[in-house]
Structures are given as C-alpha cells and as structure tokens.
C-alpha cells in the first residue's frame, strides 16, 4: 500500500471527507453545507495529491495533468450538491454538471465517442426526463407560502450513520485499489489489439497517397480473406498495380506516422465486429422499458360527467354573462 499512497493520508482523507458529507446533508436545523463541502474537498484532495506525489516519484519527468483535478473536483462537488440540495430541480441540474465533468474525464481517457454519447444521452435525454417528472410531480405552492419545502425534502434520514457506512465502503474499496486482491490471475486479461487498419483499406490508401508513398496507379492489395494486407505491428502495407483480377509489381511500403485508428473506428469494430449481438440486446432492453413505462403510467383519470360539467362552468361563465 505504501508504494501508492501513505495509508495515513488515505484514511485521514477519507475520514475528513466523510465528516464533511455528513455535515452537509440536509437537517431540520441549519446544516453547514459550505463547511462540509470544504472538508470533503480537502479530504479528496489529500488522497488524490497523495497518489500524484507517489506517481511523481516514479515518473518525475511527467507534468501533472491539471484538467483531471478540475474535472474530479467539479464532478464530486456537484455530486455532493446532488445529495445535499433540498430542492429536486437543483439536484437534477447539479447532476448534469456531474455528467459534464465525467464526460471531460472520458475525453482525458481518450474515449471521445463515449464522452459525447454521455452528454447527448444523459444530459440531453435522461436528465430532461427527470426534470419533466420533477415538474409534473411537485405540488404547486399555495398562495400564502410560495417558498415551502415538503417535509421529506427538508430532512435527511440518518445522515451520520449513512455517511459512516458509505465512507467505510469507500475506505474498503480504495484499500483494495491500493493494496490489491490476492489470487487474481496474472495474464489473460488483455487481448491483443485487433488489426483494424486492415479493414479500412480506403483510409490507408488515402493516407499513403497524401504522403506520396505510392504511385497514382498503385492500390492496396486485398488478400483472400477480404482484408487489406496491412501489418499493424511492423507498420507496413502491401501495394501493387491492379491488372485484370490480380496485382503486378507488388511491394511493401511503410505506413505514415500519423495514420492511426480513431476512437470511433476502433469502438465501432469492437462493438459491431467482436460483440455483434450487443446492439440488438440494448434495443430489446429499451423496448421493454418503454412498454413497461407505457403500461405503468397509463391510467384513465376518472371524472364523471357531473364533475366535468362543474369544472367547465367557471370557464364558460364569462360567455354566458
């Protein structure tokens, strides 16, 4: 454990963060949210800086990435506001902030497609549904008190026990991260990267033409398996001049330095080539959820004719007069 972070720093940071979260949960009396947020930020910062200092011992030449700390602070700070804000609308808006900061971390992890999918699907669709439901399912404020809170929003249930439980869980999880689990297999987790450039002959050819490596009449040789003969390890491609069904003057050329598989392309290969059933399964899950939601929320509002007439009368009364 000492190689990743000093244990005292880890547990002290977690404890300070736990006290901060427990202090800022909503309560009948005043709850010191600012103080709690500060304590939480200090605890989190202690742990992350502890990781960074130890990492800097091993790789002293790398500058620390400031963006990660900004995104982590925004994500967790907004997450704290989600669980401590008394008003559901603001909680949902802060959750959008958490999503945006997570998308920033996805981009730092070079998962660009998932970052934008996350913003579109989560911040754009799911959270808007939440906002709609919050606005549908909230009592309209009465005339005399426009700023009233419902009792179940104003008070958290067992804030200290819940925070203690949660941060005990965090301590165990981070202990497992920094000190390891025995008995895990050493090998066989990582799979070799697929040779995706072989499936993208047009892009390879365009890059080769742009670099001036091949002559105008030369083309990539397509092998019997339907894939281009591109060696991603050695970064070479086999080109030749097409002549009635076969190739003549075949030679190997080096690939340009900047030719790389983009995130969207490699994700698409993994998604549709190696796991072809996933998109259908995801579609079935979404269809089931949609059917379930329709069935659940479809309920006729029972109004008898007399009630309808009574409610219609105030509207039509002006015309009568």
């Amino acid at each position: 454990m000492g190689e990743i972070i000093h244990p005292f720093l880890l547990y002290a940071g977690i404890a300070v963060g736990g006290i901060g979260v427990a202090a800022s949960l909503p309560r009948r009396r005043v709850s010191p949210q600012l103080l709690g947020g500060l304590l939480g930020a200090i605890g989190l910062g202690m742990v992350l800086l502890g990781f960074t200092l130890r990492a800097a011992d091993r790789t002293p030449d790398q500058m620390p990435s400031i963006y990660f700390y900004v995104f982590a602070l925004i994500a967790l700070g907004a997450g704290l506001r989600v669980i401590t804000n008394r008003r559901p609308v603001y909680a949902a808006l802060y959750f959008i902030l958490t999503i945006l900061a997570s998308a920033g971390m996805y981009i730092l992890l070079s998962a660009t497609f998932m970052a934008f999918a996350l913003i579109i699907v989560y911040a754009g669709a799911i959270l808007i549904t939440y906002l709609f439901v919050i606005m549908l399912a909230t009592q309209a404020p009465s005339e005399e008190e426009t700023d009233s809170l419902t009792p179940y929003d104003a008070e958290a249930r067992e804030p200290f026990f819940a925070a203690a439980t949660g941060f005990a869980l965090l301590a165990v999880l981070s202990t497992m991260v920094v000190s390891g689990v025995r008995g895990l297999p050493r090998d066989g987790i990582a799979t070799p990267p697929a040779n995706e450039l072989a499936s993208l002959p047009r892009r390879v050819e365009r890059a080769l033409r742009a670099a001036g490596t091949i002559e105008p009449e030369e083309q990539l040789v397509i092998g019997s398996s339907g894939l281009a003969l591109v060696d991603a390890q050695a970064r070479t491609a086999r080109v030749g001049i097409p002549a009635d069904g076969s190739f003549t003057s075949i030679r190997d050329v080096g690939l340009p330095e900047d030719l790389a598989v983009r995130n969207v392309e490699s994700l698409a290969f993994d998604f549709l080539n190696r796991h072809p059933g996933t998109i259908e399964i995801a579609g079935v899950i979404l269809l089931m959820a949609m059917l379930g939601a329709v069935v659940l929320s479809r309920r006729q509002v029972e109004l008898d004719e007399e009630l309808k007439r009574q409610q219609a009368r105030p509207l039509g009364s002006e015309e009568m007069a």
């Binding site: 990492a55 925070a163 991260v177 994700l267 959820a289």
Partner: protein, 117 residues
C-alpha cells in the same frame, strides 16, 4: 505482491500526465459512495433515483479507465450498456414515481410501504 498492486500503481500505457489508474478508480469509488449515501439518506423518490444514476456513472468511469489502461475497447462497449440500462431504469422508475404521485400526492419514499397491489 499481488497483481493489482502493479496494476494500480503503474501509469497508463500512453502518456497521461502523471496520472495513474488509482486516480480514476478513487474518483469513481468516491462518486459511487456519494450515490450510496444519497440513496440511503434522502427521502424524495426522484432524488433517490438520481443517486442510482450517479452510481451508474461511477461504474462507467471505472470501466472507461480500465479500457484505457488495457488499451482495449470492450470497456467502452460495456459503457454503452450501462447507459442503456440507466435509460431503461429512468423510464421505469419515473413511470412508477408518476403513478405514486397520482395516488398519494407525495414523493416520499415512506409512501411505498403502504402501496401494495
């Protein structure tokens, strides 16, 4: 020394600005725990479901970090599933919330205990 020690303390394969896998895993764990605490303490059903979304989000962040660590896209493919499940869960849970609100005019989680059938 077991394998996960090496895994968490080693940096990412390509330059990542001095960050290690442990950074992302800790942020993911902290976000998950915030979701757990919110789910346990808040009594408003909508906020409780928001907290489950936050737990999904933490799982997705861990998956993306592992995917980057192993330079393997399967983690990202799995995150598509996480988002799908989150969307399905949001649709069903919010339908239930609207149903409960029509019956009880309240969003308190305690109302569920009286709602049977």
């Amino acid at each position: 020394m077991s394998e996960l020690v090496l895994l968490a303390q080693s940096g990412f394969p390509a330059p990542m600005g001095g960050l290690t896998l442990a950074h992302y895993l800790f942020v993911s764990a902290a976000m998950f725990v915030l979701g757990v605490i919110g789910f346990l303490t808040r009594r408003n059903l909508i906020i409780m479901f928001l907290c489950t979304e936050m737990m999904f989000q933490a799982a997705g962040l861990a998956l993306i970090a592992f995917s980057r660590f192993w330079l393997n896209q399967t983690g990202q493919t799995f995150v598509i599933f996480v988002i799908t499940i989150a969307a399905a869960e949001a649709a069903l849970a919010l339908a239930l919330v609207v149903l409960l609100f029509r019956k009880r005019e309240s969003l308190s989680a305690d109302e569920w205990s009286e709602m049977s059938g």
